[in-house]
């Protein structure tokens, strides 16, 4: 009997982040300084896109 596939029934992964991999691929430093955009009093990086 074919086993019922259970993926995605209960959980949807919005982002499969594997930050450790970026230790190899990242670090070019071309991204925007986080405080230069629209805040100047806080710091957030999660809203930035990688420039690569």
């Amino acid at each position: 009997m074919k086993q019922e596939k259970t993926e995605h029934k209960h959980i949807k992964t919005l982002t499969k982040s594997s930050l450790t991999k970026t230790l190899v691929s990242g670090g070019c430093g071309e991204c925007q300084a986080s405080c230069q955009s629209a805040c100047k009093t806080s710091c957030t990086v999660g809203n930035q896109a990688c420039e690569r």
């Binding site: 959980i11 982002t15 930050l19 430093g29 957030t44 990086v45 990688c50």
Partner: protein
């Protein structure tokens, strides 16, 4: 061994989320899987029989097994209850790539909450000369080594008080960038009072981003953002200028940016007011101030602020459905092409990637530190003469801050503002917890909005 500390479960409007802080992964769940993860985080054994026993009053064993299986897959793939680093990744070399040029330590407004002591940063009221600005550009080009993408922000005080220097510096910067194969993104923050058609045309042509200060409704704005003699409505002067400016900007990046205080805890109304005026790029920051001040935000206001952020998130989604949508800066989250771990650790880069320049050419780790001699790190002629200060800031990253290291939001917020941590958190290693609370709430709202718009 599951790392449960950095896993965060939250729900809003029947949407259920789990953020795995160590990997940065975000999951959207049904209520069963959510309850299961929450119970495991709260101490239930990670075991199929244990979860069946725990949830069998509400769900069938088949469903529970299904959900448990999915959770097990995520755990195996290190996307849930994932381990923290056993060794902290090595800090990589960084170079200066962004300058905040305080071209004017003076202002034509006297805003009550100004962190720059109404523009003079506790010192003399003065303007930057073109000679100093030129040296700052040279410093940036030299210090940036092989970085191509650079930033130069005109700040103050009010930078338009020194517009001729802004203009000449942009032209010089463009010339030097071309010569050295760099790209400089110019940005400016203004209170709008001095905006003219000629200035508007220049800024719209040359500035990559323009930040236009306004706090929202007339009575809210004018209660804190006031003229030098306290007369007239600042709101009434700047709104038509901003509307014309944005119209002429033709889609280029800008933000209308406000500050909310204890006196307008219904700041959602101010954001919606700005949206109603036709602005579609809006930022509204919580004021950072000593808790003794009457407008300061304290822990007591957090429930109201949280409620307001949720209300804003729901209103924003409503706008997407029915009216012209707008973008709220603090609800932006990049889940697909987000920054690398180095960036998430480096955060703002103050003192080593990002430097502020005073009108006389002194260098400070960022605009917030200006005026405190202890933090002077060099000058535009000699460059950085105290690199150890920048190194200290660089080292004060989320993985070296015990409180941050345990936080599920660490790789999204990056540890907050060094200056605020020092002033209100107590040390570089202790985050300013009030800001942390608001940051986490905004991140929840961001994920809720993201999920609502993408599912």
């Amino acid at each position: 061994m599951l790392d449960k500390e950095c896993v965060h479960c939250f729900s809003h409007n029947h949407q259920y989320f789990v953020v795995d802080g160590n990997s940065g992964s975000v999951h959207l769940l049904d209520e069963l899987a959510y309850q299961m993860i929450k119970a495991i985080k709260d101490g239930l054994e990670f075991d199929e029989t244990a979860v069946i026993n725990h949830l069998s009053n509400e769900y069938s064993p088949r469903k529970i097994k299904e959900a448990f299986e999915e959770i097990t897959v995520l755990v195996k793939e290190n996307l849930l209850f994932s381990p923290d680093f056993t060794e902290i990744p090595k800090e990589i070399d960084s170079v200066v790539k962004a300058l905040c040029l305080n071209v004017a330590h003076d202002c034509n407004l006297r805003c009550k909450y100004c962190f720059a002591q109404t523009g003079d940063f506790g010192g003399k009221r003065e303007l930057m000369s073109y000679a100093v600005a030129k040296k700052a550009v040279d410093f940036l080009i030299n210090a940036s080594k092989n970085r191509h993408q650079l930033e130069l922000d005109f700040f103050g005080g009010e930078p338009l008080l020194n517009f001729e220097v802004v203009k000449k510096t942009v032209l010089y910067g463009e010339e030097q960038a071309k010569k050295h194969n760099k790209n400089i993104r110019f940005t400016i923050t203004t209170n709008g009072i001095g905006l003219t058609k000629a200035i508007q045309d220049f800024l719209n042509e040359k500035m990559y981003n323009v930040v236009l200060s306004i706090d929202g409704r007339r009575e809210v704005n004018d209660a804190v953002r006031q003229t030098i003699n306290g007369e007239g409505s600042v709101h009434d002067v700047i709104v038509p200028k901003y509307q014309e400016f944005v119209k002429a900007r033709k889609g280029k990046q800008y933000y209308v940016r406000g500050t909310f205080t204890k006196n307008n805890l219904d700041f959602c109304e101010d954001v919606l007011y700005l949206a109603g005026l036709g602005f579609d790029q809006i930022s509204m920051e919580p004021v950072v101030a000593d808790s003794a001040l009457d407008y300061a935000l304290t822990e007591a206001e957090l429930p109201t602020i949280f409620h307001e952020y949720h209300r804003l998130a729901d209103e924003l989604l409503e706008y997407y459905q029915t009216k012209k949508s707008f973008n709220f800066f603090h609800f932006n989250v990049e889940l697909k092409k987000g920054p690398c771990l180095y960036k998430r650790i480096a955060g703002c880069g103050a003192g080593h990637e990002y430097i502020a320049v005073t009108p006389t050419g002194e260098l400070y780790p960022c605009h917030q530190f200006i005026g405190d001699e202890k933090y002077k790190i060099g000058d535009v002629s000699q460059g950085i003469i105290r690199p150890e200060l920048g190194e200290r800031l660089k080292h004060a990253h989320v993985l070296n801050k015990p409180t941050c290291r345990k936080c599920w939001a660490k790789y999204y917020c990056s540890g907050g503002c060094h200056f605020n941590n020092l002033k209100y958190g107590g040390s570089l290693s202790d985050p300013y917890l009030l800001a942390c609370e608001m940051e986490r709430k905004r991140l929840e709202c961001s994920l809720y909005i993201y999920s609502s718009l993408n599912n």
